[in-house]
């Protein structure tokens, strides 16, 4: 197990390195215009552009450019030329909001998704199952940028039941924190609930047909035990992988759209602002931060998966 974890750590570093390379390529190599000009953004003056050129080493070779950029990122020197604020500080400020949003939504979608999927599977073919399956298909088709505005318009503007945006820190006012997050949580969760319940349902139906379930019944285990310890346990494995991927992505600030719609000032919001202003350094910073989280969570997921499925741990290809 330890060797497995070590191998994953090495893999993590490799992926992070590749990501940083890709980011470098995207921002400094592929585009067709002078890089310093682009980084300087809207308020570019010739002096600014010149100083950027020197700072970032655009007259040097590509590898040196890459090294310089990495140094900037890791030593916190990366700043937005638009707002003159250091990127990493801005990111840090946005983390509590983004975490609140992501973790809350993730817990909701995981619990409800698994619950509905379980109900669907044990009632397979019955009206409840068909209803839930239909709802799931609709759910996975409702994009955040439709559901968000609709919910805000109906619940916040018209009915005035919930606030229509903004973020209140947990330490300031727990109740406000909660009410401000309910709509965004739900907006994010709806899509995944539908998806996860379908995956779990399919996974459970597969498991229920397996021979070892028949063995378990033949041993005289109670139906409840057969369902939980044998069927569910094996069916949850793909869910864990998916959850890890989705959660990593959400926390990585891809809740950008939701934060924008609801005005939640997290990392995603910060990135969206930078996008509107065509301000590139913050995007670089947020992308790398996002990559780090996704890679970290993926590695954790792999470890969890190995723990759950011994065949993987001991080197066998899980079927």
């Amino acid at each position: 197990m330890v060797r497995f974890i070590l191998r994953r750590l090495v893999g993590m570093v490799a992926v992070l390195f590749t990501t940083s390379l890709i980011v470098f390529l995207i921002f400094n190599v592929i585009p067709n215009s002078p890089p310093a000009q682009r980084l300087a953004g809207k308020n570019a003056t010739p002096t600014l552009v010149k100083s950027i050129e020197e700072e970032w080493g655009f007259d040097e070779s590509l590898p040196v450019q890459y090294a310089t950029m990495m140094k900037q990122v890791f030593t916190g020197e990366l700043i937005s030329y638009n707002t003159h604020l250091p990127v990493n500080e801005q990111i840090e400020e946005g983390i509590p909001a983004t975490f609140s949003l992501s973790i809350g939504a993730a817990l909701i979608w995981l619990c409800l998704g698994v619950l509905l999927g379980y109900l669907s599977a044990i009632n397979a073919g019955a009206w409840l199952d068909r209803l839930l399956t239909g709802a799931s298909i609709v759910g996975i088709s409702i994009p955040v940028f439709l559901l968000g505005p609709v919910l805000i318009y109906i619940l916040a503007d018209k009915l005035q039941v919930l606030p229509n945006g903004g973020y209140v820190a947990l330490s300031e006012d727990p109740w406000e924190w909660l009410t401000h997050l309910i709509l965004p949580w739900f907006t994010i969760a709806v899509l995944s609930i539908g998806f996860y319940s379908r995956v779990l349902r399919a996974s459970m139906l597969d498991a229920m047909g397996e021979d070892y379930v028949r063995t378990a019944r033949a041993k005289g285990l109670s139906e409840h035990r057969v369902m939980t310890r044998h069927v569910l346990r094996n069916s949850l494995i793909p869910i864990v992988t998916l959850f890890g991927l989705d959660f990593g992505a959400t926390i990585a600030g891809t809740a950008i759209i939701t934060e924008t719609i609801f005005g939640i000032q997290g990392v995603g919001y910060y990135a969206a602002q930078a996008l509107t202003n065509e301000d590139l350094p913050p995007i670089i910073g947020v992308t790398l931060y996002g990559a780090f989280f996704v890679v970290l969570v993926n590695a954790l997921v792999d470890v969890a998966y190995a723990y759950l499925d011994p065949r993987v741990r001991l080197g066998q290809e899980a079927r």
């Binding site: 992926v15 890709i22 990593g248 990559a291």
Partner: protein, 343 residues
Amino acid sequence: MSADSAAATRGPWSLALRRFLRNRLAVAFLALFALIVVFVLAAPLWADQVAHTGPNTAHVLEKLSVNGQQRDVVTPQGEPIGPQWFEAGGRFFLGADSRLGRDEMVRLMYGGRISLLIGIVSGLITTLVAVILGLLAGFYKGWVDGLIARTMDVLWSLPVFLIGVAAGISMAVGGLKIGPLELHSGSIWAPILIISVFSIPYIGRAIRGEAMALSEKEFVEAAVAQGAGPPRLMFGEILPNLASTIVVFFALSVANNMLFEAGLSFLGAGVQPPNSSWGTMISSGVELLTTAPLLSIIPGAMIMLTVLSLNVVADGLRDALDPRAKVRLEAHAGMVEPEGAPV
């Protein structure tokens, strides 16, 4: 025995077609999708004959005569006129958008063309490349597979949407230059390229897995024994058996890519002005959510209906082509992350 011989004379494709046609829900949604396509194709017709305006023409200072009355297209306070339906002869059917006073209905139709175009073209590219890579990896295995699989793994591990956004804005600002390939900064091909590339790992992995499993089967061995070379094996033996998977995945990837594009465009990292898509329309519409909610909700609803139709049709296709579809296919089929854009 007569039932057997009748079934034997019908090929699997026509059997699948009949099964699909019996699925009334899937057929209904296929019709809906077709309607949407017709809708957006009719854009020039509507613009010329009914609305007498283009998608980017601003009418901010004009007045509209409605039922004998003169009304501002955009009020001095900046509020655009609401949906007129047919009151003004079809002009401003859905009202005016934002402060520029453009005809929302015309914009909806033209924007839809871009959204669908990007979705379908990138879906084609993704599917094509993924199939080739998957076939190569699954068939040759060895180092070919290692290379392809590792690359897909790395792409898989990245925050794809985030990097898509990064690439989108970078290209929006600076255009693209890789060797001979050049794109100017407002080109539609920028989002198409980005979306295509980043969606490849999803389908690629599934195809690779299936190709690998298929390449171990006896009919492939039999073909090898007959002296078949790699191209005939891959394209003649394995590919036809992947066909049903590919068809389903294509439908799903169009749906997924449309969501991806909408997400990118919403944030400004996708389709750039003067082009617009349903995603950009939602973005500008959200600003006026309290006064003119339809401006953001209708384009969003159009996306949803299109994606829903494709999802239902893909489901129906999967049931028709392989009634005992496996979990693998399902798990990748959703591939939509919480934001409505691929992870």
